[in-house]
């Protein structure tokens, strides 16, 4: 299992955000994407998901281009961007259920409740997401990490808007994922300790 990026370049409008970004991520590996605001961190993550097309270069999953076989890649991928992807009018539980079904993973209510408990918002389970605070919404979105079987997690600023206790919980979930042989690509401005079998850094300069 391997994610390889080869010579990626990203053009937004007529501005070159970055070029020749290459890396290889193995099972159990953690990749930090660092850079100033506007240096293209989020664009790189979206590009790795296949939401954006690279100007030059390719992304390979297990030796195959992700454009060639998107379904295998996407069933191994969990992406959490700036937006939480939650519907305001649905409850936290309903939101989790919908995203689990969309990802084709079977989860029952008990599992979802325990996921919400892990990240400390079980008491909001049956409230519409509309009434939750920013940090609580983020935590509902992050609860997906306890339900997924995806190997590759791509997380854009997962620690933003979280309180200290939740950051710790999330970091330990990431540790566990990596020790189970998962991979994580992450952007963050917080200094959070995550242990992995191998840690790499991609630094984008604006």
């Amino acid at each position: 299992m391997l994610l390889a990026a080869q010579g990626l370049a990203c053009l937004r409008g007529d501005r070159l955000l970055f070029k020749s970004v290459s890396f290889e991520l193995m099972a159990g590996g953690l990749l930090y994407v660092l850079g100033e605001n506007g240096s293209g961190k989020s664009s790189l993550l979206r590009l790795l998901c296949g939401l954006l097309m690279p100007e030059v270069g390719e992304v390979h999953w297990c030796g195959k281009s992700i454009k060639q076989d998107p379904e295998t890649y996407l069933s191994n991928l969990l992406y959490l961007g700036h937006l939480n992807g939650l519907k305001d009018d649905l409850t936290a539980l309903e939101n989790l259920q919908m995203s689990a079904r969309l990802a084709d993973s079977l989860v029952d209510e008990q599992k979802m409740l325990s996921a919400l408990t892990s990240i400390g918002i079980a008491r909001c389970a049956n409230l519409p997401v509309r009434v939750l605070s920013q940090g609580q919404k983020r935590r509902v979105a992050l609860a997906r990490l306890w339900l997924t079987e995806s190997k590759l997690w791509i997380l854009d600023e997962p620690f933003a808007a979280l309180d200290a206790a939740s950051i710790e919980v999330l970091a330990s979930r990431l540790n566990q994922h990596m020790s189970d042989g998962g991979m994580t690509i992450i952007t963050t401005h917080q200094d959070v300790e995550i242990s992995a079998q191998s840690t790499q850094t991609v630094r984008l300069s604006a």
């Binding site: 996407l74 992406y79 992807g85 519907k87 079904r101 969309l102 990802a103 084709d104």
Partner: protein, 222 residues
């Protein structure tokens, strides 16, 4: 695969149920627009029944139009659209589910309400029946074609007007056959040909529109 289709359908219906005002807006728009004509033109049954097919179809087109802009916009803003794009299911399938939900919520009520409005226009019984059939066969095409416009204008400023400009010309065949069906039955002819053509429009749209919509969504999300 089917599971995901049902999930999206269920999700959109649930959302519509929670935000009933959105659905009511469409219906009231249809009701009011189609009620304005008899008030403006006067209660002459012969005149009313001759303009009825066209007016009712145009009202149905416009009512569908105002709800179209919301088809993908809400999902785009809260990020659930990108999650759908990243689901391991074919996007065309999910698009079909969303469009079907849109039709159930905005198209079907118009179909069911139409005979009631038709009475205001002094339409005879068999013309009312043809009107319902024509709307039932034609409105799916409206939702399907409209989805392409909604996807193309995603995230564009003033998208509401732009959708109308893009999509209304494409509605012309459906309007002609739909209104033609009712007019034919008023004139004592068979509406069969018009209804078949309407069904053909819908089937053709069902095959082509989801693919175009999916492609447009991918571009818009970039």
């Amino acid at each position: 695969m089917n599971n995901a289709w049902l999930t999206v359908l269920k999700r959109d219906l649930l959302l519509a149920l929670r935000r009933r005002s959105d659905v009511a807006t469409t219906l009231f728009f249809f009701l009011i627009v189609s009620s304005l004509f008899p008030l403006g033109i006067g209660p002459e049954p012969a005149v009313l029944s001759s303009i009825a097919p066209g007016v009712l179809w145009v009202a149905a087109l416009l009512a569908g139009m105002i709800s179209l802009t919301r088809l993908f916009a809400a999902d785009f803003e809260d990020g659930s659209l990108e999650q759908m794009l990243l689901a391991p299911q074919p996007l065309t399938l999910l698009v079909t589910a969303k469009v079907f939900a849109h039709w159930l919520v905005c198209g079907l009520p118009v179909v069911l309400l139409a005979p009631l409005i038709g009475l205001q226009y002094a339409l005879p019984g068999d013309a009312l029946l043809v009107l319902v059939w024509a709307l039932l066969l034609g409105t799916p095409a409206l939702s399907l074609i409209g989805a392409i416009g909604a996807a193309l204008t995603l995230g564009v400023r003033g998208s509401g007007l732009l959708v109308a400009l893009l999509v209304l010309p494409l509605y012309i065949p459906v309007l002609i056959f739909g209104a033609g069906a009712v007019a034919a039955s008023q004139n004592g002819m068979s509406a069969q040909a018009h209804l078949s053509l309407l069904a053909a429009c819908s089937l053709l749209a069902l095959v082509l529109a989801p693919m175009a919509t999916a492609a447009a969504l991918k571009v818009s999300v970039e």
